[in-house]
Amino acid sequence: MRGILGLFGKSPFGALQNHMEKVKECINLIEPMMEALFAEDFDEVKRIAKEVMKLEHDADEVKNSIRDHLPKSLFLPVDRRDLLVLLSAQDDLADYVEDLGVIFTLRRTKVPEALRQPMSTFVASVLRVFGKSVELIDQLDELLEASFGGPESEKVMQMIQEVERLEWEADKRQYKVAQELYAQEGKVSILDIMVLVEALQKLGQIANSAESIGKQVRLFISK
């Protein structure tokens, strides 16, 4: 009688962490891409953008296999829809990095000298939001072990608040960079400004998606 064997479904939480690993590989390429852009090494930018595309594709495959293994008959300790929204948020991150690569390869965009420093600090603050959201996903094991309650859930709640605070900081930085960028009116090509505006928006969306990971984990706990 092997009935009980079928009772244990494949846990989606480990797979969610695997997916986040792939996303992290994409995100880790943002800084080298920016450096190549600042150095106006456009071949390198193109190479990195291609690498991001490949990694994003890998992440997609992990994502699809998670979705395939989440039939409605699966009974989870968290809401199935919340889990899928979390997965989407993670997946958006990889998509946005891919978009960023595409934006930078559209033309040979020059980043004005005055913008490089504020832009780097903005990227760093976006990466901090992301880094914290990765920690959050890493805590899913412990959360599951604690059945999404107790001191562990309080600890995770604090981490979520930290993610939200970091995202707010990233927002402020984005505002500053945007101000700096528009101040370049007349000094640099209008097309450069347009491309950079788009890039800033993508980076801002990365911070937003990282924050929404926190929101979903919050729903896990409060279920």
Binding site: M1, G3, F8, L74, F75, F148, G149, P151, K223
Partner: protein
């Protein structure tokens, strides 16, 4: 009774066949959770399962045997033709054994208990029509199939909530474990002891009235509780300095409890399931020996031992493969979850067995696992399995009954 004597060998053989099936499949599920969580190695799981099953069969097996063998079919109908009862029981055993083997081959979650009940009901129908079946008893048994997984689920849910609130989610898990783990040890030991003493040991002619059994059980529980406390203190002193993450230590402690409960499950399974194999044999044997249908069939300890051994052989020859397969797959099940599910299962099965209701351990275990899942303790449970199990429930009894009817008819022609 010449035909009766001829029946002896095939009846015992068929009983062993069913016992083998129980050992090969049923037992595996309870042990697999321990192997999956790493609490037991495969070799030890097989050994523990075999020993506890035989012990359970011999020490606590007698009551259920009466129910399956005598309760469903009105034996007074066979007074005029006792050898027919023997044939019928043999037919029921063969039908159940065949169906079990087929179901196992197809990977269907079928209960040995349900099969044997179906088989006995089948030949009863042929012999005496609808009136031969003790419908009230039959319905009671059917109801217990539905109630027992629910009971297992509720118990496991409660136990897991307790563990989670009091130990896992405590501010200081080490101290919480020191305080609450002995409570669990106490409850477990006391219940096991009570069921052993109060009704179980009749075969050793050790019968305790409820009062003194309760006293002894509480005493044994208290002793186990103290022993547990000492062991936990030692473990805490040794590990807590190096182990900053409390979960790992908690789970390690629960592994010991899980081994205890796994033995407890195997014991209660032995007590409960041996009846499936041995009940019909006992019925047939009494006919062969006495030449008439007695009001009360004595199930000798040696017969229970034979059933227990048959189960043990099943575990040794095929069960370990099933344990290995399942154990490998259920690695997500941590020791605290496994303990909750097994404790809930064992208690339910023992209580049912004491009430004389043959229940399926696996189905109770499924209910218990789902119960832990309801308490947000499981990563992912595939609830589609439940519908498969329900289908198997619906199908098993009629199929085995029909099969038993066919075989019984064949016997009558021969």
């Amino acid at each position: 009774m010449e035909t009766g004597a001829l029946l002896l060998v095939p009846t015992i053989a068929a009983g062993l066949y069913v016992a083998w099936n129980i050992g090969a499949n049923d037992v595996a599920n309870s042990m697999a959770t321990s192997v999956g969580s790493g609490a037991l190695t495969l070799r030890r799981a097989v050994l523990v399962a075999a020993l506890c099953n035989v012990a359970g069969a011999i020490l606590a097996g007698v009551h259920v045997t009466h129910t399956v063998q005598k309760g469903i079919v009105d034996t007074s109908l066979f007074v005029g033709s006792p050898e027919r009862l023997a044939y019928g029981m043999l037919a029921a055993l063969i039908a159940a054994g065949l169906w079990l083997q087929l179901a196992t081959y197809c990977g269907l979650p079928v209960s040995t208990t349900h099969s044997i009940v179906g088989g006995v009901a089948g030949f009863g129908l042929i012999h005496g029509g609808l009136g031969a079946i003790e419908w009230e008893k039959f319905l009671q048994i059917v109801a217990s199939w539905l109630i027992s997984p629910l009971a297992g689920g509720v118990l496991a849910f409660g136990i897991f909530i307790y563990i989670n609130r009091k130990i896992i989610s405590a501010d200081n898990p080490g101290q919480a474990m020191r305080r609450h783990m002995p409570v669990l040890v106490f409850a477990m030991s006391a219940i096991l002891c009570l069921s052993l003493l109060y009704k179980g040991l009749k075969n050793l002619h050790l019968s305790f009235p409820l009062g003194s059994a309760l006293g002894v059980a509480l005493l044994a529980g208290g002793l186990a509780c103290l022993l547990g406390r000492v062991l936990i203190d030692r473990a805490l002193a040794r590990h807590l300095t190096s182990d900053r993450d409390g979960f790992a230590l908690i789970e390690r402690m629960f592994m010991y409890l899980q081994v205890l409960t796994a033995s407890y499950v195997a014991f209660s399974q032995g007590a409960n399931d041996v009846a499936n194999a041995v009940g019909p044999v006992a019925g047939a044997l009494s006919v062969v020996r006495d030449g008439f249908v007695s009001q009360k069939v004595h199930v000798h300890t040696w017969l229970l031992a034979v059933g227990g051994l048959g189960i043990a052989v099943g575990i040794a020859t095929w069960g370990y493969k099933v344990i290995a397969t399942i154990g490998h797959r259920v690695t997500d099940l941590t020791a605290s979850r496994g303990f909750s599910a097994e404790f809930g299962t064992a208690t339910t099965v023992l209580v049912c067995s004491k009430l004389g209701l043959p229940v399926s351990t696996t189905h109770v275990l499924v209910g218990a696992v789902v119960g832990v899942g309801m308490a947000r303790g499981m990563a992912a449970l595939n609830l589609r399995v439940i519908s498969t199990i329900l289908k198997a429930w619906l199908v098993t009894v009629p199929i085995v009954a029909a099969l038993a009817m066919l075989i019984y008819r064949l016997f009558l022609i021969l």
